[in-house]
Amino acid sequence: MGVFMHLCRTTNQILSKSGYRMSSLRQYSQSSVLPLPMTRNPYTMPTISAFCTEDNVSECISYINREVSSLGFPLLCTESNNGPELNLVAVLNNVYNLLQLHRRCLQTVEDIEVEQVKSNSNMDYLQLSNTRLKDQLELSKRENTGLLERERQLQLKVKSLHNCLKNEKEEVQKLQSIIASRATQYNHDMKRKEREFGKLKERLNQLLIDKKDKKQTFEVLNYVGRSDGKRSLWKTGKTEARHEGEMYKTLLNDYDSRHKDLLMENAELKKVLQQMKRDMVTILSPRKPSQSGEKHDDSLEQTSSEEDEVCDSSRESLELSCEHAREQLTNSIRQQWRRLKSHVERLDSQASLVGERANMNAIPKEVHEEEMDRLKLEIQQYKDFIHTQQQLLQQQLNSPCDDETASLLNDCYMQEEKERLKEDWKSFEEKRKNFEAERRNFTEAAIRLSHERKAFEEDRATWLKHQFLNLTPFGDQMKPQMSKSQSALSGWAESEVRPMSTPAKLNKSLSHTAFSTSRASPAKTPSTADLYRTHRLIPEKRYPTHDLDIHNRSKLQSIHIHGR
């Protein structure tokens, strides 16, 4: 028994090296039959008294047998006839086996520990690499977003550049089309000018070749008078000054009339502005009792505006074009307009509030009713105004019936003016008729003269014919007569020439001619019969007369008298 105890003690001492094996054994032993008091500390060996005592030796032996057999070791004791006996060899073998087992376990534990360490270090390494990779991933993600952002911005830039390019292309196209149209226009104009130039060159060539240059000619039966009947004046410095004066007069008249128009417009616009201001004041004034917040301001502004109004009306009545008054008027209107605007805005906000809150119906209704009252009042006022206007108008219309003398007087004045005007018109009409008649006469006379001239030409032709036919020289008997006829002819020639210079004179002389045919005064134009007679009597004096005729003819050539 003591050996057995000693063996148990040594096994315990060997086993105390590794704690938890003891604990595992302990646990196993706890699960088996024998409850043993164990200490908490796994590294301390339990005392022998804990497991085996003198009482429970057999139990211990049987228990150990059982354990050993389960492990595959030989049994500790065998059954003999004296009771169970401890086999020493078996025990030693068991101990040795147990020791081997223990060593093997320790080895495996060591191996496992090593492996655990290895795996720990692996895990650490993996964790490290994991964190590193996570960081890398984070970084690369950020970079990616950054790159995406840049790409987006660049795309925007590309789009805007595309647009710019499109605009520029359109601009270029437009400019090209403009250039093209200008070019076609230039070409067209140039071709036209070239064609004209070609025609000019041709004409010049033609003129150089045919020396016969058809001159300009002007043929007219007789000159007509000016349409306004006045004589044309010589061009002197005075007429030039007169023209300048008239030109400036026209300009000034135009400026005056425009100035008047503008003044009138200004006055009307001012009136409108004043009316507007008054209206705005009247619109804003009944608001005073209803406004709570701005009451004080309103009253102040009202008084100030009323003052303004008074000042304005008085000042305006004095100087309408005063800059100061104008500015004041516009400023006051602006003020009123601002107030009206703020008022309307307030009303708008109030209306919106009404829309939100249902129990605010009372207030807008008040406002509405007030507005209605005010409008009714205004309508009444306007009706009264119209009524008074009508009354005044009626009075005005009726008053002439009462004020007869005043109306008569007015009429009298007008009558006088009317009479004068009528007389003026009559005289003017008469003058115009006279002038027309005169002009008609003049034209008739001119035509008659031309006819006469024709006749004269014919006569002269016949006379010349006669002269050529009857070539008989005569003596000096007819000298005095010749001189008389000469003077008569010269007088006639002069009266012929004079009309060419001034048509007015022609008027008189021709009329004289027309009327003088019957009278036939010797100093003035002789009749054709007289001429014929004188020429017949003094045929030898044809040369001087002939000279005169040539003289006449040369003078008359410039007028190109033709028979018709």
Partner: protein, 456 residues
């Protein structure tokens, strides 16, 4: 509305005398003077060649007939049919001929615009004006007949000379800041002269009567510029029509743009009324019509009935895209006319040649748009009332007034196609000119109420 019978005329030469009593027409080389109301022939004159230009003198006493090929101008007197006057320009040629405002001087422009000769019918005096410019409108007389503005070009520079028509005294001579002056026009009050540049440069210069530059206006650069210009009768507005299809209105106080009228291809969002001419083709009957009926039907087939319909907005206006490769393209506002009471402006944009636009000058907005079935050839305002007459080259006459719009068939035989329309100075009758024919249309008093019967 009464229509007279159709008379012959040539070269679209048909003018009413300024006093409104006579109507002068040219038939080849004959000049026929009729009474306006009875259309009886009063005088018949024969010229030496085919008449190319005919003009009444301002006092209605003389008529000028010009024959450019022969270089001849003949003047006839109404009072004295025996009176004659013949101006032969000889080898120097004749390009244009016109009366001076006093009716006693004739201005002849020689070939190649070498000079302008002023012939006087009162005296032997002859004046010459050198270096006139050959442009769209080189000469203009002021409305009161006192002054004449003449465009000149010397040494590659443009000048304007202002003459006093009384004695042809040179009042002012000044250089203009234009590249290539295209025209001059006096304002109706005679105090402002508008001078504009050729279409390659948008520039309008305004000069006062005494030669001072009042203002310059240029809307844009580089693109083709001004196509037409019109003064309002009160001289308050100057309307400038340009190749970009817009009309710009300048005011006479500051000479700045007051507004711009655009002619868009689609009209919406305006208070304007759009009238569209709609043709009603007559129904051709069945085959068993007699020959007589066929003949009458034939004439009416040419004359399709048409009426105006009011189109609801938005409206698309037909646009013809012009060939921009050619010079003087058919774009831009080519004709504008103010009504005599200054209240309306009628314009035509060459892109949309079938449409006439009427603008209200009081509120400066579009008032009416008239869309016709074919290109509008001519339109003119009544000299007394706000009434516009227009024609499109078919046998109809169209009238617009603020009350409404009407299309009238001209009852003339043989396909009379109205090429141009002229109002008589009293506004009571219209002269319709065809290719070789003319017809008078007498308006009845109270015409305005009658116009509503077609479409309002």
């Amino acid at each position: 509305m009464n229509f007279s019978e159709v008379f012959k005329q040539s070269n679209q030469l048909c003018r009413v005398s300024p006093d409104g009593k006579y109507l002068a027409t040219c038939v080849q080389y004959r000049l026929v003077v009729r009474d306006v109301n009875t259309l009886q022939i009063l005088h018949l004159y024969t010229c030496l060649d085919q008449i190319v230009h005919m003009e009444w003198s301002s006092d209605s006493l003389f008529i000028l007939c010009a024959m450019y090929k022969r270089g001849l101008v003949q003047v006839w007197s109404l009072e004295q049919p025996d009176w004659y006057c013949k101006i032969d320009e000889g080898s120097i040629g004749l390009v244009s001929s016109r009366w001076s405002p006093d009716g006693r001087h004739i201005l002849n422009t020689t070939e190649f615009h070498l000079r302008v000769t002023v012939w006087s019918l009162c005296t032997k005096a002859v004046s010459y004006i050198k270096y006139p410019k050959a442009c769209q409108k080189g000469i203009d007389f002021s409305r009161d007949g006192c002054y004449m503005a003449l465009a000149e070009r010397r040494d590659c520079r443009d000048y304007v000379s202002v003459f006093v028509c009384d004695d042809w005294h040179l009042l002012r001579h000044f250089e203009t800041e234009t590249q290539d002056l295209a025209g001059v026009e006096w304002s109706p009050n005679g105090c402002v002269l508008a001078v504009w540049d050729s279409c390659l440069e948008y520039k309008v210069l305004l000069y006062s009567l005494d030669g001072r530059l009042l203002s310059t206006f240029s809307a844009y650069e580089w693109s083709l510029g001004i196509k037409s210009l019109a003064w309002s009768p009160s001289s308050q507005f100057l309307a400038i029509g340009s190749y970009d299809g817009k009309v710009r209105i300048l005011n006479h106080i500051t000479w700045k743009k007051v507004t711009e009228f655009d002619h868009p291809a689609s009209i919406n969002n305006t208070k304007a009324v759009v009238y569209k001419e709609v043709e009603r083709k007559p129904v051709v009957g069945s085959a068993d019509l007699s020959i007589q009926q066929h003949i009458t039907m034939g004439s009416t087939l040419f004359n399709t009935q048409s009426k105006y319909e009011i189109c609801p907005l938005p409206v698309q206006v037909p646009v013809v895209k012009p060939d921009l490769d050619r010079a003087n393209p058919k774009v831009g506002v080519s004709s504008m006319a103010f009504s005599s009471d200054n209240r309306y402006l009628a314009t035509k944009n060459d892109n949309m040649a079938c449409v006439v636009w009427v603008w209200d000058m009081q509120r400066l907005g579009l008032l009416a748009v008239l869309e016709q079935t074919s290109a509008v050839r001519c339109f003119q305002w009544d000299p007394r009332r706000p009434r516009l007459a227009l024609c499109t080259g078919n046998a109809k006459l169209y009238l617009w007034s603020p009350a409404g719009c009407v299309s009238v068939q001209v009852p003339a035989e043989g396909g009379f196609q109205v090429q141009s329309v002229t109002w008589h100075c009293s506004g009571d009758s219209l002269i319709l000119l065809g290719k070789e024919q003319l017809c008078l249309c007498y308006m009845e008093v109270g015409e305005e109420e009658e116009e509503d019967d077609d479409v309002k």
